[in-house]
């Protein structure tokens, strides 16, 4: 017991659990973002009202702090584990042929995660920061006009491309992460293994795909 919390299996489980929470967060976030598909004034009105709700409702605020903490926890635990794993093999192989025994994503979770973290910082700067501290206009219903900020951001081809690329990173990260979390928690039993694999791959494709389709729609529109 004394070693449980310092064991790598426990820490991995922490990474898996926090990752799982973040997937749930993504689904919620995605559901909100879907409102960006609504065209015209209706879309603007609804999205801004939603943004207001999300930044003022006490329950949501509490939830958002939990999310920030989870992101930090997920990052710290995984970075710590990566650091430890580097110690476990001080001398690298001269020839390596990882592609023949594992997927690229599974071997590059740290890289993918870092990319996602960078994306997250930029993403927060673009929208979260603007919403909270930025010099942001109001829509005709009196709400902060995040909708216009968002639409404007995705008129930039580079920004849109960066967003899509980041979603690709997320897709790869999830393609390994979801199934891996179940495995680490010991839930990936042979009975459910297939379903878990499908769910994992499904989540990895569907969530980033819908996320990415929003800026594309906005850009094209």
């Amino acid at each position: 017991m004394k070693l449980y919390f310092s064991s790598k299996i426990f820490q991995k489980a922490l990474a898996g659990l926090s990752g799982g929470f973040l997937v749930v967060f993504l689904i919620g976030h995605l559901a909100g973002n879907l409102q960006l598909f609504i065209p015209g004034e209706l879309g603007q009105k609804q999205f801004n009202a939603y943004a207001l709700f999300m930044t003022t409702n006490p329950a949501v605020i509490a939830l958002s702090y939990i999310t920030y903490t989870t992101i930090i926890l997920h990052s710290i635990v995984t970075i710590y584990l990566v650091f430890k794993s580097k110690l476990a093999r001080p001398i690298k192989y001269h020839v390596s042929s990882g592609n023949s025994n594992s997927t690229w994503a599974s071997r590059n979770m740290a890289f993918l995660g870092t990319m996602i973290l960078i994306f997250l910082i930029i993403h927060l700067r673009s929208f979260w920061y603007e919403m909270h501290f930025g010099n942001i206009g109001f829509d005709k219903w009196g709400n902060k006009d995040l909708h216009t900020v968002t639409v404007a951001a995705f008129q930039n081809v580079y920004y849109t491309a960066f967003y899509i690329l980041s979603m690709l990173m997320l897709a790869f990260h999830l393609s390994h992460g979801v199934g891996s979390a179940f495995q680490t928690l010991g839930l990936n039993t042979s009975k459910y293994k297939k379903s878990i694999t499908y769910i994992g791959k499904g989540v990895a494709i569907i969530i980033p795909l819908i996320f990415a389709s929003i800026p594309i729609t906005l850009y094209v529109r």
């Binding site: 794993s85 093999r89 690298k92 020839v95 025994n101 594992s102 599974s106 390994h176 928690l185």
Partner: protein, 250 residues
């Protein structure tokens, strides 16, 4: 095919206090029916006849079961053939003129002793920490007193097939020993005889694995893919479950 040639790049290291380096050797009188180790034998005979030190490598049974052989061939533990130890790998899987790089297992917990020989005693210590059922000689009930379903017996057997070679550690990008450790934990946890010590065992063995300094498992599946006995990652799942369960129960 006879008289085919290969270019070898082999890790040479006098002992664990000195730095190692790669040395190139050309061999050109090979027979395709040689095993990989016999190819090294031929090279060693040549080195001896020119008064050089032969390449030290671990080997014993040469029939794929003792788990002695331990070399990474072109980036793959035990070489390119699936489900095969180095000693069972034959030269007809290579082509004339191939470049072959041979390295020892690389892990902090498996320090190089000499050339391709590494120290795998951490595996022994992990088993000593709890990889057994405590039953003294003579105190066993009749063999048929405890029926075990064929399913459980097969599940246990597939795990018990582990030869303790360490290819899983060598293949893992984090040098994790999870496959080795989990195979023994799962074998004993899935049998009725293993129940009394089930929780104690998994905690002790995982903790010992931590102490030995192996990396963590990131479920890449490289271990299963390179395991000469093709032991499944399912056992790592089982170990994780057992470990959480035992610790939460307290």
């Amino acid at each position: 095919m006879e008289n085919f040639s290969i270019k070898l790049k082999v890790w040479r290291q006098k002992n664990n206090k000195t730095q190692g380096k790669f040395v190139d050797y050309d061999i050109d009188d090979l027979n395709e029916h040689m095993s990989f180790l016999e190819m090294l034998d031929v090279l060693n005979e040549r080195l001896i006849s020119s008064r050089e030190e032969p390449i030290a490598f671990e080997h014993d049974c040469r029939e794929g079961i003792c788990g002695s052989c331990s070399m990474v061939i072109n980036g793959k533990p035990h070489g390119p053939l699936k489900g095969t130890t180095t000693c069972q790998l034959h030269m007809y899987h290579f082509n004339d003129g191939d470049n072959i790089t041979i390295e020892p297992w690389r892990a902090k917990s498996f320090p190089v002793i000499k050339d391709l020989v590494v120290d795998r005693t951490p595996f022994d210590r992990i088993i000593q920490s709890g990889g057994y059922i405590s039953v003294n000689t003579g105190s066993a009930p009749d063999g048929n007193a405890i029926p075990i379903s064929q399913e459980d017996a097969l599940y246990a057997f597939d795990a018990a097939a582990c030869i303790g070679c360490g290819a899983c550690v060598a293949a893992c990008k984090n040098a994790s020993a999870s496959l080795f450790v989990s195979a023994k934990i799962s074998q004993l946890a899935s049998l009725p005889q293993g129940q009394p010590e089930r929780d104690k065992r998994v905690v002790a063995m995982v903790d010992q694995m931590e102490v030995e300094g192996f990396g963590h498992c990131t479920n890449t599946g490289a271990c299963e893919a390179e395991c000469p006995k093709e032991i499944s990652q399912e056992y790592i799942r089982k170990m994780n479950w057992e470990y959480h369960r035992a610790n939460i129960k307290g």
